[in-house]
Every structure is written in structure tokens, then in C-alpha cells.
Amino acid sequence: MTVADTVAAGGPASAVPRESVTERIVEIVSDSGEGAQKAGQSFGTVCAKMGNGVWTVEIIPAEIKPPARSPAGASGIRVRFASRPVTNMGDQADLVVAFNEQVLYGRIASGAYRPGTVVLLESKWAEDGQEEIRRQYATAVAELRAQGLEVLELPMETACREVVPDPRVGKNMFVLGMLCQIFGRDLDKALAEVQAAFARKGEQVVATNRQLVRHGFAFAAARIPLAWDVPSMAGAEPLVVMNGNQAAGLGILAAGIEVVAMYPITPATSVSHYLGRAFARVGGHLHQAEDEIAAIGYAIGASWAGKTACTITSGPGLALKTEFLGFAVMAEIPLVVLVVQRGGPATGLPTKVEQGDLLASLFGQPGDAPKVVLAPATIEECFHFVVLARRLAEELRGPVLVLSDANLATGVSPFPRPRPDAAWLAPPIDQAAWPEGLLPYDWDATTGLSPRPVPGQRGGEHVVTGLAHTRKGKVAYDPHSNQEGCTMRSRKLASLAATLRPPQVYGTPEGELLVVGWGSTVGAIQEAVDRLRQEGHPVSSLHLRFLSPMEPGLEEIFSRFRQVLTVEINYSDAPDAPGIPPQTRRRAQLAQLLREQTLVDVDCVSSVPGQPLAPGGIADRLRHRLPTAEPGESA
């Protein structure tokens, strides 16, 4: 008897054997304010604690408070958990709990479900007072089934009423209980989560919610004929679970950065929400400036006067920081710039995913402004790259950009707990006397590096300026000084590049197709590569973390593949589009950099859906570029 049939039939969980699977994707969708996200986060944590790999991502409506029961208003959460580490939100969901039928439409539109996805649907709407709503509900259920979704209508609110007067607050915990039963989760762990989550609100609240969880657990056992198990993976090293913005915030703490100046902008703001609470605990100072220009100016002022500071922003704010970034390069002021990318251009798609700021980060400044640009690929790297960035900013005496994105910013996943090290912390401000006769820009002819006198250092007095200047920091308009200054600043990137190792190929070191990516897409790309390899396609991938300077050895790596293409979430002209001759085709951003640097005909598969890439979607777009696989290889 198929899942479809049992679900259709309903009945107790005992009606089906508990099936062991390697991964599941679950969604809870609702109107905003119904607590779906809290339930999902708790469920994710329980799974993580039970040793699963987990990736949760919130489903956020466009407006702050959309009207109830509107497709555009879908609010909720997706939890993907597996018997191995999970690095992305995956493809279509296996199971979805919905508090009303309308919000499902929004999710279906963005391709979240497939035929066979099980829908546990609140059934109260069937008897709603308004005839209109009853009709909407009936139609929807019919349509959903027609599309092949397995709909199980459940009186969840009615069941909750047995515990609380108003189910609107509370049914989320009831759902947590349901999910624990369906996936055979340890109920005590769930109850512990509830304890932690509601502790502040007092014993009574805790008690009620624990009651709701137990109730949902029992309800599912009695009414939902589904029973899966997702076994845990080996290895019990201590973990932390958080999103990429929290990880970056913690990275700032761990780097010993003491001043962060920002101006609110989605999706970067939540970093400062975290810092607003935590920064003071490590003696840090968060400055919310009057605008983005003032924010970077404040950070540069703080860096100049002492320790390397940080500014945080997203696309439109990055645009406003363009001039000051050029100044930091010219005057050689260490600075960490965290850019959480969103959809562009202009105000674009404030809450959505895009990797569109790469070229602006490298080339945004009029004149030549060489700077370091890094891109963390995972939530864990959001933490470690900030620590790295602070060090590079000081050693290279200039700004370091860290390009995260909305996908990393909102995705929540466990990773090994970092072991903070005193060496990560910024050293105290050097106030010793400045060495006699040492110039403020004592450029090393080969590396371009030079030590920096900090205000307070006796004998180091000088003026920093955005004008062309000599090694003494004196304004100079002569040809030699300008050529030397530009050369020294560029030389610094070369000296960093010399320390980098070639990136590791994922998969075999040669083959038909090499997929090159950067940033938050690493997990989805590698999963796609795995699937294609299983189908017997000789596909490998390469992920870049240094975008400026780039990691070495790319030509050599590319030379071992018949095709090289990038997969990116930014715009490129489709090769087959009308009136787009190859010469004038506008390509994806990393592809442009790779072509310029390697002269290899690097193609690109890119689009701007505003969504993270799903492994299945990538595999589909790559598959038709591949010769049909020889069966042999699939072993």
C-alpha cells in the first residue's frame, strides 16, 4: 500500500511500518504570526541534537504583515535533515504542514512541492462561517490532489483546544509534537527545547506548551499513518547551530574587532541585531550611523585611530560606500567590509538571494582600487572568514570585502563549535614610539607592504590623504609618485596571491565538465555533481573562495576538462537569446573574471530567480549539456 493510499485512507501511525530514509524535507507554512518558524527551528534543533545534518530556512512574506489566507502571504519554514551534513535547502519538500490552504499556492508557485508531497492540512476551513472560505478550501483541496499532492485533512486546531482556549497561539508546538512522532524524534529533547524557548515566559507557559507538544505527538500517532526514521550520522563533536549572519557576528567577536559601524539594510541588518545584544559583552561598540557613507567613514576613522573596524551592508549600501572604499585603498586603512548580497540592481529584491555584487566589489571604484575580496561558501565560513579578513586587512593595510548573501544569512545549520584562540583577537593598539626615520608608507618594493603608524605613536606623525602621495604621505602630483603608489598598492594583492594554494577539485581531477562556483552555492552544486556522477557523467566542480586575488592554477585545472562553466545566481544573457551574438553576450560575473584571466572559453549557467539554487535544478540545467553517460561509469 503506497504512502498515497495510506495517507488518503488516514488511520494510526501503527498502520504503517517505520521506514528508514537518508533525508527528509519538511515545511510548515501559515499566515505570518502563527509561530511556524519557532516550531520549525525547534524541530531542526532536535534533529541536530539527534545527530542529523540539518538546514532550515525561513519562508518570509513580502510585506511585514500580509493579509490572512493570501498566497503572497506564505510565512513559515523549511527544515531539511539527513543522515549526512546538509548544506542547502534541497529540492521539493516531502512533507508540509499547512495552517490554511491558500498559503500553499504561493509555495507551489515557487516550485516547493512535487507530486507525492504529503500535505497535512488544517481542516477547520471546511466548516468556516463564510461560505466564500468554505468554497476556496474545497476548490484548493481538489486542485492540490489533482496536482498529485497527498492531502490529509486534519482538525489540528480543534485538537489544540483540548489544551488551550485559543489555538492560534500554541498550535505551532502541537505541530512540533506531530513531527516528532512522524519522524520518531526523542520527545524529551523536544520538551527540553520548549523548556528553553519559553523559560523567560514563566512556568505556566512552559507547562502548556509542553502539554501541546505531547498532545500533538499523541494526535499524530492516532491519526497520521506516516512513520519515517532518518538515522543520525556518526561523530559527536560539539556543534553550534545558527544562521550565517549570526556566524559573521560571532566572527566579529572572535576577531577582536571592537567597532562595527552600519546602517540598517536587509538582509545584512540581522548581524547588527545580534551585535546589538552581544557586542557589548565582549567590550565592543556598535554604531548605527545616519547613513552608509557615515557608517564606513566612522569605521575608517576608528581603524585609522586604532583597531581595525568593520562596516556591514548590502547592495544599495555598498553602492554608497564606493567612494570611501577607494579612499581606504588609497590611504591604506585596514577595514573589514561585510556585504550580505541581495537581489539587484538598485533596491531590487531586498529579501532575496543573488550573487550580483562581485564585479562591483572588484571594479566599483573610479581609478584603480585593488582590494581583497573573499566569499564564504558556508555558514561556518561566515564565521572564520571574518576572522581571516581582519588579519588580512591589517597585514595588507587596506579594505577586505567579505561577500555573503541572503541564502547564508537566513539559512540555519549546525557546524563544529569553533575553538576561539587568543591569536585571533586583534592585538592591542601599538603605542610604542615609532622607529626613528621609518616612513609612514615604507613600501617594500616587492610586496608593497608597509607598517602603519597609529595616532599616539610618538615620532610617527603624518597625514593620510586620498590624494596621490609619496612614501612620506605628502601630496604629490608628479608622474613617478603616482605610478609608484599605484604599483605598490597593486603589488600587495600579488604578494597575497603568492601565498594561496590552487583550489581543490570536487570529483575527479579531469573529465567532460567542470562546474565553477563561488559563495553560498557550494552545497547545491556539489549535490548536483554527485547526482550527475551517479548517472555516469564525468562532471566535477571547483569552488572559489578568493575572488581578488584569485586562487592560482586555474588554467591548469580547466585544461583537464572539455567544458568549463560557472553556475551563479546573477544575470547573464542566454546564449540562444534573440539578437545576442557571442561577442556581445553579457556573461555571469565570475565567468567574466575567469575568461579575462585564463582566456579559456568559460561558459555560464546563471539566472536571477531570487531563490537559492536547488541541486535538482542545477543538475537539470547541466544534464542537457552532457553527452549521454556510458552505463559503466555509474559504479
Binding site: 534543533t45 560539539p238 547551530v241 545558527m242 549570526q246 560571532l250 567577536l253 572572535a254 577582536g256 571592537e258 567597532v259 559601524a261 552581544a278 557589548a280 559583552r281 565582549v282 567590550g283 561598540h285 554604531h287 550611523a289 547613513d291 557613507i293 557615515a294 567613514g297 566612522y298 569605521a299 575608517i300 576613522g301 576608528a302 585609522w304 585611530a305 586604532g306 573596524a309 567612494e323 579612499f327 591589517e394 597585514e395 549546525p414 563549535r417 576561539p420 587568543a422 592585538p427 601599538d430 603605542q431 610604542a432 607598517p451 602603519r452 603608524p453 595616532p455 599616539g456 605613536q457 610618538r458 615620532g459 610617527g460 606623525e461 603624518h462 597625514v463 593620510v464 590623504t465 586620498g466
Partner: protein, 318 residues
Amino acid sequence: MTFGLPSDWSLEVPERYFTLESYDGGVARWCPGCGDFAVLSAVQRICRDEQIPPEKLAVVSGIGCSSRFPHYVHGYGFHGLHGRALPVACGAKSRRPDLHLWVATGDGDCCSIGAGHWLHAARYNVDMVVMLFDNGIYGLTKKQTSPTTPVGYGTNTHPDGAWLPPLDPVQAMLGFTNTSFVARSVDWNPLHLYQTLRAAYHHDGTSFVHILQRCPTYTGDLFDELRGDPDRIELLTHPDGVPADEGVLRLYQNRREHDPADLAAAREQAARRDRLPIGLLYRNPDAPRYDQHTVEGLGMAPADKLQALERELDRFAI
């Protein structure tokens, strides 16, 4: 890298005495007769009289003739971007209470492109002296209209004369929230300029000094009336105000006892058009200072940071 050396906040051996030369940053390259020279020497004298160690001197500016200021002072200078001196200065001060901070900014730098930062700097009220060099023109870029250019005054962008009423920086500042010190002086009276800037230096908070500054090259005649007829000026006097030297009192016969604590009176004086009040218009020593907030946590021990960091990680531990 120079980092990692032991920090030392109290390196002062042997006793040092600073002369005017200690603050000499080299030949100033302004036009002959430029009012900026007078401001430069006033500041250098104050540094000498206050015995500020040059390495503790932080001079921040934007872009403009007047913003060349840091280059001519021996100390740590930040010659930044046009209009952006104030955010940089606030950031510099945020964790360095030990620095003596001076800002040089022009009427275009501060009141035009920098206007937004100007209004907010008043709110932050960090401890610094802001010298607003008002020559009524864009000097460095060669005579374009500035916000303070008088109506009808011919410039390269408005050859038939500026059209808009000139912005009054003092009235504006007296409308800003949390403004704590607003004074006015003129470059052609070194005594009054010195006393005004010195009073500004001693105020705890952001001290705005509106300096009428001559630009012989582009607005040579701008202050003729004021300079030719001292009676066009009214000297504000008060025990809490700018101390007036003999010479100043002799020159400016029109005087008014004005209590700088009285905001309404200050606004009234600032609004006058018959005479130009110079001296201290407003002062509020009790206005909250952002820099008293920004230094919190300064100098926390690494060990304590690591401990706190572990506690932070605990919050995310599973």
C-alpha cells in the same frame, strides 16, 4: 607588521616641552592673504599653550583649501573625502578618548555636501573642536557658489549672482538637536579667534566655531563692510563666554552681555541682521556625549573576551 608590540599608554620620559615649532607641519600653501593662515597659527598657539603632545593631536578634514589644514600641523592628520570629515572624526574619537581632536571643514564641505553629517554630529556631541571655515565660496575648485554665498554675488556657476538666500550656519546649528557649543569669530582678529578656539577646546563636547574667513582670491570684498566698520559687529560678552582681551574690547564698542546658557536668546541674537554677533552664542555643558558611551568596554582583557566569547558560543550550542 608593527602590530603585536606591547601597548603602552604612558610613555612620557623624559619631561617634554613643546614650542610652536613642535606643531609646524611645513610651509602652508594657501594664497597670500588667505584667512586660513590666521586659523592655523591660532591652533598652533593653543596646542603650545596647552602643551598637547603632537602624537596625541588628531586633525581631521574633508576636501577644500581649508581642508588642507592637517598637512600644515605636525601631528596625526586625516585629509579625507569631501564632506565626510565629521563621521571620520566621530569614529576616530570613539575608542581614543586620549586624542585631542580638531576638525577643519569649509562652508561647502560642511554645509553643502556634508550637511547631513553636520546635523548628526551635533547630536553625537563627541568631544572635538569643529572649525567651520566660511569664505562664502568654493575656493579649491575656483569660485563656485557655496551655500553661504550672498544673494546676487557673482560666481563661476552663477555669473549673474547667486539666487538662493545664503544658509546661516549658526541659526541652523541652534536648531539642531543636542548642539552643545556654538561660537563665531573672524580670521582678521587673531586675539578673538584665539580666545574663541581656546574656549571651544576647553568645552567638553562638540564645539562648533563659525569662522568668517577671507578668500582674497575669490571673495576678497566679502567682509569689507564688517572689517571697515567694526560697529557692524556686536561682541558677545559673559563670564561663561569667550574671554575678551583689551584689544578686542577696544575695537568692538558694540557689546552685549549674553548668557550662553540661554538658547532662546541665542537664537534671537543669531537671527539679527543689523549687526553680526561674535563670541559664544550657546553652550550646554550638560548635553549627553556619545563618546562617553562609545568607550564602554574599552581595554577589556583578552582572557575576559575569550571567556565571554565562549559564553556566546554556548548560546548556540546544541
